[in-house]
């Protein structure tokens, strides 16, 4: 298992380098321009100078190598410096700068990460917690009223886009009932009970929207996987031995059914980091998803490049984790 992990990690390096190059090339080919959003009153020659000051007048390969250097050498050195207080060289090195804000991309990401992890992460967690019992009961009582309703809701939750449910919840709970705010306050610090309540209140709507979506997706997996196992021979054997029905369901069937579900959940973790672009936009959570979409719209290429690449790293990493987990959970699977 250990050598397998090492081998996979080693193979990840060329994969990621190729990914970074493909992203860079695609962004470079896209007909987008960082001065495109500026008022038309800014004359063309000034736009040209702005582009030059962003380094856009340099050749493609030079810009790619500069980004590689900034991302793989300068940024890690900077992180080590700020963590340990050591100093490498004079400390003056070019970091990956966002074109729109002209500030280091890594600082922007660090600033946005907490909101995204709280809102999207919590919604993922709630989604899992809701999905598993629904999936188990639906499968166990297949074609019962509970199953029919559960399947219907998960079908609806899976099919209705979040930009619809999000706006619907805002209109009902913010505009009409005025129970929850429609705008997320990223400045809110939880210091006492009332600010804690305020934090919970502003998280309710976005978390609810995303939980519904996640739960629907996972519940369908759990149900399908449970149904597969319920008709297996070992279940009949367990029942024939006189094992209690509760133990049959929760110990024998559920554990085996969770193996594919855990893989699906692990593969979904990177999507927490990439944020929920639309939901974040609707509630102005201003997490990583919103950062990515404004960067795309404003042609902030260093920011898009860095964010997309970090997502790529996470996806490669969690694929590996899913494989390793599979081996741990299922004794039949061995990699060595």
């Amino acid at each position: 298992m250990f050598t397998f992990t090492l081998r996979r990690l080693f193979f990840a390096i060329p994969t990621l380098l190729v990914i970074s190059f493909v992203i860079f090339a695609l962004l470079d080919l896209a007909p987008n321009d960082p001065t495109g959003d500026l008022p038309l009153t800014i004359p063309p020659e000034v736009r040209e100078q702005i582009r030059a000051s962003l380094g856009l007048d340099q050749p493609f390969f030079f810009r790619y190598l500069a980004w590689l250097r900034q991302f793989f050498i300068n940024e890690p050195l900077n992180i080590i410096e700020s963590l340990t207080g050591w100093q490498f060289g004079d400390g003056e090195r070019m970091r990956v700068l966002s074109w729109a804000t002209r500030s280091p991309v890594v600082d922007l990401i660090v600033q946005r990460l907490p909101q995204t992890l709280w809102v999207v992460g919590l919604a993922y967690l709630f989604g899992i917690l809701i999905a598993i019992p629904i999936g188990v009961i639906s499968a166990y009582k297949q074609y019962s009223i509970f199953d029919q309703i559960g399947t219907f809701i998960s079908m609806v939750g899976y099919s209705v886009p979040t930009f619809f449910t999000g706006v619907l919840l805002v209109v009902i709970f913010s505009s009409h009932l005025q129970w929850f705010p429609s705008v997320y306050d990223t400045n809110l610090r939880v210091t006492d009970f009332s600010s804690f309540i305020a934090q919970v209140k502003q998280m309710v709507l976005p978390v609810a929207v995303l939980s519904l979506y996640n739960a629907s997706q996972i519940a369908r997996f759990v149900r399908a996987s449970m149904l597969d196992n319920l008709h297996q021979d070992y279940v009949r054997t367990a029942r024939a031995k006189g094992v209690k029905e509760k133990a049959v369901l929760l110990v024998h069937v559920l554990r085996n059914s969770l193996i594919p579900v855990v893989t699906v959940i692990a593969l979904g973790v990177p999507t927490i980091f990439s944020g929920a672009i639309i939901t974040e936009q609707i509630f102005r959570v201003n997490g990583l998803g919103q950062l990515l979409i404004t960067a795309v719209q404003g042609a902030d290429i260093p920011l898009v490049q860095t964010l997309t690449f970090i997502f790529a790293v996470l996806i490669v990493l969690f694929n590996l984790i899913a494989d390793v987990l599979y081996g741990i959970l299922d004794p039949r699977i061995r990699y060595d």
Binding site: T35, D37, I282, T294, A299
Partner: protein, 569 residues
């Protein structure tokens, strides 16, 4: 519509009444909550140039003079506006002398002097700095200090309209001390200064989260001890225009939402909640349809849409150009897409009032299908079996492009149906705004390339003087491969007479004569059909009913007088 007008009139009356009453002290009205649906990226307008950054920073850093809501210059950091009469503007129009207010302090307590003004000029004109507002300093030869509170600006050639450098929210003064090490290529590296410039304005930046939220506090050293009424400002960014309008008009979570350009009927239902009001102000924005005077035929390859391609086979006919304009009912377009934020217009220079012409309103403002049809009949354009007119094998079928935007696509549909009534066909196309306006010479979809027969967008000019703007239609301003598609004469209009008159305008100093010339130039463009002006677009923003003191301004930042805003008790 009537209710909205009544509401607007009511708030204007209320404002007039309340402004007579005495104001409270500084910082008594709590937190002002502002919503920008496009989040602010930096507080340094020199490094961004975007409207949102210019507006946000206008609360902190100020210019020497601003333009008020009526289009008149008001002194801010200067004691008065230098003119020919008071001797501030030299008789030869080669220099301008600003007297600075003597007791102004930066928010860190240090005095504001002529050195800061000179530094600002050097900062923005430094090579490799990529200053977005460099055009404001065009023609400035030197800026020097006569004494610590007098600044003399010298120009390379006589400047009849000299109020560009250091005037308006695009050209504010930054502190020399803070930005001393940030000149030229080093500018982007000064993140702390770019995110929190020290200013002379009513507020100071307390916390800046790029592309998210900014927190401001009242400036303790602001020159008026009774202002600002608000102790702090929270400027949140992100989302979209409709939900921003909703947060002010319907849920009442915010006091002011910038640029709430949403379909009028949606806004009407939001206004019914009674929590807010809409205010509009009209600057110089005009939504227009440019007509391509050159041939955009794809068969011409690289030559398409350049003078080498020759004149447009159909649009070279003046009758066609005029008929296209006559067929359009501008009032319907305004009603459907703009509401209170639009007026039908036939001018490319719609304001200020002194330079707005009315000459072509008689024939052009009202739709006249009969006259349009007659014009085309007389010119020999005959309807075919498909209802499209044609002459000598040339069909009146136009490729009509614009940027992606729901109002623009709705307008395209309306215009298409209006043109269909005079036997003109249109194929609609749209491109993402960042591509359409991106100016990438490699992209075929930019508005400069104009690989279409007609295209629609909005443009305007800074400040109140249209001279530079009118010079965009000079023959030598045409975009083409030789200048990297960078010219601003998008219709490829060329008239030596027009060029001559622009030359006269650039040498005329008398305001009345300038206005007369500007009107004639504007009329020439409309009459000859360089473009079809459609809608004079205003700025539309939403305000909470409790917010007072707002003077909606289209000539400067909408937050220009935020120091005077207060909450109704």
């Amino acid at each position: 519509m009537h209710r909205l007008k009544l509401l607007l009139a009511g708030t204007v009356a209320a404002m007039a009444l309340s402004s007579a009453t005495a104001h409270a002290e500084r910082g008594t009205d709590g937190d002002l909550k502002i919503l920008f649906w496009q989040a602010v990226s930096t507080m340094n307008p020199f490094l961004s140039g975007g409207t949102k950054e210019v507006f946000a920073s206008s609360m902190v850093i100020e210019p020497l003079a601003r333009t008020d809501e009526n289009g008149k210059l008001v002194a801010y950091l200067a004691t008065e506006i230098p003119t020919l009469e008071n001797g501030g503007l030299a008789k030869d129009l080669l220099s301008l002398t600003w007297k600075l207010k003597p007791d102004v302090k930066w928010s860190d307590g240090s005095p504001f002097t002529a050195e800061d003004v000179i530094f600002t000029w050097k900062y923005c004109t430094a090579p490799d700095g990529g200053c977005a507002q460099k055009a404001q300093y065009e023609g400035v030869k030197d800026v020097e200090a006569i004494d610590p509170h007098t600044v003399k600006v010298t120009f390379t050639e006589p400047k009849p309209y000299p109020y560009s450098a250091f005037v308006g929210s695009q050209s504010p003064i930054i502190q020399a001390k803070q930005f001393a090490d940030c000149v030229g290529a080093k500018a982007p590296g000064c993140t702390a200064a770019n995110f929190g410039p020290i200013g002379t304005g009513a507020f100071v930046v307390a916390d800046f989260k790029p592309n998210d939220v900014i927190t401001f506090k009242a400036n303790p050293n602001y020159r008026d001890p009774a202002k600002p009424a608000f102790a702090s400002v929270t400027l949140k960014g992100g989302g979209d225009a409709a939900s921003a309008a909703r947060a002010v008009l319907e849920t009442g979570e915010y006091d002011y939402a910038w640029n709430t350009m949403v379909e009028p009927e949606v806004l009407q239902t939001m206004l019914a909640a009674g929590k807010g009001r809409l205010e509009s102000a009209f600057g110089t924005n005009v939504e227009r349809i440019n007509l391509n005077w050159t041939n955009p035929d794809p068969a011409l390859g690289d030559k398409r849409s350049t003078t080498e391609a020759g004149p447009h086979p159909a649009l070279k006919d003046p009758a066609v150009r005029r008929a296209l304009s006559l067929a359009i009912d501008r009032d319907i377009i305004v009603e459907a897409g703009y509401g209170a934020a639009g007026k039908a217009t036939c001018n490319i220079v719609p304001a200020p009032e002194a330079v707005a012409s009315t000459k072509n309103d008689s024939w052009c403002l009202k739709q006249d299908l009969e006259a349009a049809n007659k014009l085309l009949d007389d010119a020999g354009w005959v309807k075919g079996s498909d209802g499209i007119r044609a002459k000598e094998g040339v069909k009146l079928n136009f490729l009509y492009s614009t940027s992606t935007n729901s109002v623009r696509q709705a307008t395209q549909e309306l215009v298409k149906s209006m043109w269909a009534e005079i036997g003109v066909g249109a194929e609609l196309r749209n491109a993402s705004a960042s591509v359409f306006f991106g100016g990438d010479p490699a992209s075929p979809d930019t508005f400069q390339k104009f690989y279409a027969d007609v295209e629609m967008y909005t443009n305007n000019f800074d400040g109140t003087d249209p001279e530079k703007y009118l010079a965009e239609w000079l023959c030598n301003q045409m975009p083409g491969p030789s200048n990297g598609w960078q010219g601003q004469n998008i219709p490829r209009y060329c008239n030596p007479e027009y060029d001559k008159m622009v030359g006269v305008l650039s040498k005329t100093a008398d305001p009345e004569k300038r206005a007369e010339l500007a009107k004639q130039l504007n009329d020439m463009l409309t009459e000859e059909g360089a473009h079809i002006p459609l809608v004079h677009r205003g700025d539309l923003s939403a305000f909470a009913v409790s917010l007072e003191g707002v003077r909606m301004n289209s000539w400067d930042s909408q937050l220009w007088n935020v120091a005077d805003w207060y909450r109704k008790k």
